[in-house]
Symmetry: C2
């Protein structure tokens, strides 16, 4: 096949794969039956090679699907033909100035590697989406990934001060840089952040870092009902307490994951769990943790407040495993990531259960309560096509519910393939048309990750 | 004039002015000879009226120049014909949920009013550009205004979670909302932030707030030279200290403003002054202030560390007055706002003086050292056209210097009229063309604040 030979001429034949294997055209949506296909997969080793590949493909009207760690929850890296551009070889740290709190890295560097490098120099890269070992910073940027610490520290984009990207028809562009303030141009840095490869391929980024907090002290509280748990979360905010994390698990999520809870036995059923954290210098973190305990325990049945580093680490390992524990319940799940204004958090949790029940599906939800960001989940037998179909219908209802309540169909996973059209629930036709116009401005042929982040 | 009558039909005749007075078509660039002209000025009272005005003008190919408080430093609100749309009547607080740390306000609300409202509820809206009483939140958003506290808290855009705007040809659009996370669409919120009215008119915003820090403790240190002062600033960062402010004044700025310094007598000449601040809960702020003192005093000749609220307030009033004190030196100034990577901060301060000297102009600089953001200033007699011209030439050289050193022509003031073409020093032609394509996508007729934020 001449395409493969041509690409081999650019990046070396050993870095091109014809008919890539199934795992290279799938992501974490595999469990809900999403499978892609591609004509070839190419692994460029440099920005120049990415540009040459894009130029070659764009000229020939071939779809271009960038790929990071393949851990996405929305099918953003799942191709429907065309060529997958895998950034996995581009893992260089181009420059690291720990004393100036900044780093410049290539897109293929894993988020965990970046976080470890920062830590080794007393610094902190706060965004902490799941799958930090597998996901790449490029993919985190492409989806504007969040995570538990987004409450205090913001999402991935809040740490990006500059981007290098390859845009159609094969040009390298750089916006921003090792600068924290820059208003000379439109903010095309943050237009690319979260654009899921539909405007261009992020090849490198300048990132901000901050001094690492000295300690992080979790406070976990169990509540007799979602109403009491959500009221306690609002109590925390109304008291002016600033936790670094304010996550929750509903009763079903707690039941799924509770068996391995590392801090003791959860009280019978535990219909609602809050996982909070205070961080900072030791005394300051202790002060905030004490305030957190006080605010939460007024309504809680049990409060856990571990301080030993081993216990704290065990708690976070457990928290990271919630998604897998939920999947293990029935083998599959359709798990979304709506976000809503905090005044409707309790209703959104209830709506998840109500919509699932109406479709004959068990549900659970957990997520980043302080950000109003729910992982609303419909549990399915992944081999039962009827259940999967009902779950997809339930998800569509959930999206409509979120949009009707001032929320969003996606707080942190992105739109990908699966939430196509969701934006039209949130934005007016004129606003949707602006998104389309921006897409055309960057990608007149519509070849950059086609079919993804479609607004309507 | 039929245009005036037509506009009066939309907003009421009493809210339209034919041939608006000079002060209504000027901003803070008046002192460097920038003067505008407009056919009319209109003051809509609602978003619907803004949309009707824009629809009327856009259809008739009339330029539309939005105006906030008129305090800009780049001529962004200075019209060259067309109609000024003054947002000054749109000052409503649409919704304030202090217990949820958020507020929705119209564009014409003054930044000082917003900050006071937050304070009265124990909350904090951190962006603090100068002229808080006169400038409006809409203008702050349009320029993505910064200020001393941007070091710790970020710039205006970091506090905007949603925008309502009127775009061509007269449509109301809303992006985001009372949400802290939303990746359903491209980030058109932050594309509009900093776009200086060239993509649309911001009519309202959803803003985040945070609990107000209990105390803010300034630490002011004088240094024997710029080299020692900049080294001390880098010492602070390398020690992992997180101040809320890390500003500086060079010797000439200190000389201009030093006479009214409220904390005592500055040591002879004071070639370099650092104005830092630690904030937070009382004990935490004290801890950080002590670290700041320790890091700064190793190289300082004198350190001031006021704690009494009256002294602290006096210091900030003094700091706010630096720009005026500098202007008073010779009656006029050409003051820019380049930002540079921190490793070239000292060179940027020196380059300002060197470029000024070469053009036969006294100079000074001060600004937000921790953000690498300098107010590089050429002092002029505003009635001397030759000096003004030389100062403009010096500014052009300064921009080129900043761009050549990885910096930006504008850290916080925006491009407006005065920095037209500056972006082309920073961005490649392909990147500049993307900005142009985005502009065309929003404003195909080029009528939204024409001539402003021009990239080349």
């Amino acid at each position: 096949m001449s395409l493969v030979a041509d690409l081999g001429g650019i990046v070396g034949a050993e870095h091109v794969q014809a008919d890539p294997p199934a795992r290279a055209v799938a992501d974490a949506t595999e469990g809900r039956g999403v499978q892609g296909r591609a004509d070839a997969l190419v692994r460029p080793g440099s920005t120049e090679e990415v540009a040459a590949v894009v130029a070659h493909l764009y000229e020939r009207d071939v779809a271009i699907v960038p790929r990071g760690g393949g851990t996405g929850f929305a099918g953003g890296a799942v191709p429907d033909g065309g060529v997958v551009v895998d950034l996995g070889r581009m893992t260089r740290v181009r420059r690291f100035d720990p004393e100036l709190w900044r780093i410049e890295v290539e897109a293929g560097l894993s988020t965990a590697h970046l976080r470890r490098m920062a830590r080794e120099h007393g610094l902190f890269f706060p965004p902490d989406p799941g799958a930090a070992e597998q996901s790449n910073i490029g993919g985190n940027i492409a989806t504007n990934a969040g995570g538990p610490h987004a409450l205090k520290y913001g999402v991935t984009g809040d740490w990006v001060t500059g981007l290098e990207a390859v845009v159609a028809p094969g040009e390298v562009v750089r916006f921003g840089g090792a600068l924290t303030k820059d208003v000379a141009g439109y903010d095309l840095v943050h237009l690319l952040v979260g654009s899921e490869g539909t405007l261009g391929i992020v090849t490198a980024a300048w990132l901000r870092l901050v001094p690492a907090p000295e300690v992080a002290l979790p406070v976990v509280a169990a509540f007799p009902s979602p109403a009491e748990g959500v009221a306690a979360i609002l109590d925390v905010l109304a008291s002016g307490i600033q936790p670094s994390v304010l996550d929750y698990l509903d009763g079903a999520a707690t039941a799924a994951a509770g068996g391995s809870f590392p801090l003791g036995t959860l009280p019978g059923g535990a219909p609602f769990l809050v996982v909070a954290e205070a961080d900072g210098a030791r005394e300051e973190a202790r002060r905030v943790a004490a305030e957190l305990r006080e605010a939460l325990q007024a309504r809680a049945t049990t409060v856990f407040s571990p301080e030993a580093p081993g216990e704290v680490a065990a708690l976070w390992r457990w928290r990271d495993g919630v998604s897998l524990a939920v999947t293990a319940q029935r083998g599959g799940k359709v798990s979304e990531d709506i976000a809503v204004p905090l005044d409707v958090l309790e209703q959104a949790i209830a709506a998840t259960a109500e919509i699932g029940a109406r479709h004959g599906l068990p549900t659970c939800s957990w997520g980043h309560a302080g950000d109003g960001n729910l992982h609303s989940t419909f549990l399915v037998d992944r081999d039962d096509a009827g259940e999967l179909h009902r779950a997809e219908e339930a998800a569509v209802e959930l999206f409509a519910w979120a949009a009707a309540h001032g929320g969003t169909v996606s707080g942190e996973h992105g739109v990908g393939l699966l939430k196509r059209g969701g934006l039209a629930l949130q934005w007016s036709p004129a606003a949707v048309e602006l998104q389309r116009a921006v897409k055309r401005a960057f990608d007149p042929k519509g070849l950059m990750n086609p079919g993804k982040k479609e607004p309507a």
